[in-house]
């Protein structure tokens, strides 16, 4: 089932299907390793609920909900 990264709950895992959004943000996501078929684990949300912390390609990355909404994911059944 396809789902946006911004809709993930902490602890949920999935694989990137595609990345949408505008040039700069999209390119930045690619450069940080958020490319199709990359595995992502949503670690947590910040105390105020917004930026998200994800685990990808062996490191921790933070991004805002609006940016995570550009990432279309395939949910992985644990």
């Amino acid at each position: 089932m396809e789902k946006r990264l911004s809709e993930f709950i902490p602890g949920e895992k999935g694989t990137v299907v595609r990345v949408e959004g505008e040039g700069k943000i999209r390119r930045r996501l690619f450069d940080m390793g958020v490319t199709p078929s990359a595995e992502i684990l949503l670690r947590k949300r910040a105390p105020l609920g917004d930026p998200l912390e994800i685990y990808i390609r062996g490191y921790e990355l933070t991004l805002r909900k609006t940016e995570a909404a550009c990432v279309v994911m395939e949910e992985k059944n644990a």
């Binding site: 490191y59 991004l63 940016e67």
Partner: protein
Amino acid sequence: MLKFALAGNPNSGKTTLFNTLTGSTAHVGNWPGVTVDKRDGLYKKLEEPVSIVDLPGIYSLSPYTPEEVVSRNFILDEKPDCVINIVDATNLERNLYLTTQIMEIDVPIVLALNMMDVVKKRGDKLDAKKLEAETGLPVIEISALKTEGVQELMERAYAAAKEKREGKTVLQKSALAHVIDDVKIALKAQEVDNPLFHAIKLIEGDELEVKMHPSETRMVEEFKKQFADDVFAGDFEAMVADARYKYICAHFARAVTRSQSADTLSKSDKADKVLTHRIWGIPIFLVILFGLFHLTFGEDLLYLNSIFGFAKDIDTGNEVLNAFIAVFYSSAGISTPGVLVFNLMGFVTDQIGSLIATGLTNVHAAAWAQGLVNDGIWAGLSGVLSFIPQIMVLFLFISILEDSGYMARVAFILDRACRKFGLSGRAIIPMIMGFGCSVPAAINTRTLADEKERILTTRVIPFFTCGAKTPILAAVCGAIAARYTNINVDLLVFALYIFGMAMAVLMVAFMRQTTMRGEVPPFIMELPAYHAPQAHNLMAHLWDKLKHYIQKAFTIIVASAIIIWFLSNFSWNWKMVGIEDSILHDIGSFVYWICTPMGFGLQLSAFGWVFVVAAVTGLIAKENVIATFYVLAPAIGMLIPEWDDGESGIGAVVALMQATGITWQGLLGFTIFNMLTLPCLAAVTTVKAETPKGKFRYTIIFWALTSYITSSLVYVMLTWWWTAFIVAAVIALVVAYFILRNKGKINLSFRKKRRSVKTE
């Protein structure tokens, strides 16, 4: 001389390696046109000395951030003899992504595999030989921290620099290989340097390249059409990034064997669980922040004296010894590290100052010479010196938080709150530092990636009332309370603090709507693993940051101190006089009418110049405002009341109120003007250094206008309460305009988008 460039991801240990290589020869400046650190130095342990240039830490060679553009242009245009690509072995995949891009340039490269010790400690295995075979580049295992393998690295780099290398790409086996070759051949025919690199960037649709090679762009467009039905729908930028990562996973990453699964929590993860906890994250941040300020500015270590009340001044009978003891321990309590070094510097400058003063008296120097040296040069110099140790302590603490990886988490925790008014989470640190001192705060804005955000932040930093402005607030509020007994001093001071912060938020929001429009920069950031900071690195940081300030301090600040001293001690016919007959007084009486709307101009008739002069002397250092009050009150014929302690300034302000007839509204106008106007010269010069060329004058205008208009409004509203309704109505109108315009803008852009979709 050979020139080597250091390139790599942020947090890959690049700075540590650079410091190890260059030692004391390092030189820090700015890249031309942008405020990005430019560092270079010499490595001397080869046959010949080699120049090392540390490129900014980057993740990619995309055209979007100044750091990336700087690095890319350096490698392409300055043609270093070798690029040392430092790679964090604990995070191979993402680090090698940059490597795959640098590889495409016709430049010799060596890979420095850093943090191998951490990899081994984890029990993972990394086969450097395998990586060398796969990439075709020399791979050297190093530990920048323990300086292992560094000499070997440099020898290999030296050998590599002697040979030519042609760019290679990992995209050779991808679907794009064909078009890459075609474009490369076309570029080669035009004798373009680095044809492979440019060809691939063109295919990615890189903004900088498309402008440079329009004819090849058409070729790419043709090719794109054939790909329209692919998964990527002709989106080459995505295809290229995807192909790079796929290749890295398939080939390079095979050099690693992990001993444990990614899901096990490391020490760093455990620390993170607590420090960014949903509930405890923010309170912990506040406690750390409070501790930081306490250790830098607190006079009573851990409030031991407030709790136990043991401290008293020690009298040894020797004044100098008493002063020396007071550096460490006084009736206020045991000094915190920051206060200790502050006192120590004060003690040293006082002693030197009195030595100079007695020396000058002994040789019977002329009065003007004594004044010039004591009150002009030395006062300016010691004013500058007095800041430095405390700033260094504050910086040391901040650097520890920065190096350990906690600062990135602070940005993570607070981003949401900051975004509400147009900044990202990172901007909160320099602003809070502003409560201590604007100078380190302005230097700290370097950590902000976005230029607009940096300018915005440096502009509002002075609104966070710094340690030197607090005495003005305390004196004015104390004096108002002394005359109108029903006012609570602490509450009034606190209200002014809050007012400053509110102004900062308001002005950021206002500028975001007018002169500094633009989106809040994206917040896609690595959260580096926590690690203990390195003393060597911290010291290098400190020195980098302070060097610039000290240089400015000894030139501009001392020069201005001398000028203001001259203006306040001389009359037009070159005679030394009291401040009440000085040139400064005349200038003050000439312009004081401007201050009428703020409540300290024409209302005070003959004494209007008094507050103008005080504000001008405050430019050297805000502490001077109170000192000037003490000089001016007796000078205009009003004795300081006897109950005054000679330090707080309350008595001086009361005396000035009696002498000039200034109202409490006027005094508040004066205070707010001082809070919001140009900060002291030390801060002004620092902000100038951190502001891109040509933008600084607007910052000056911004400070002048904001302080003038705001304090005028406050004075008018406090004096005639009904004007508050008019002001409120005007503000409501402006806000309504912005809201309507923004809504209109959203609609407009929607329409545009729909139209463009149709035409496609």
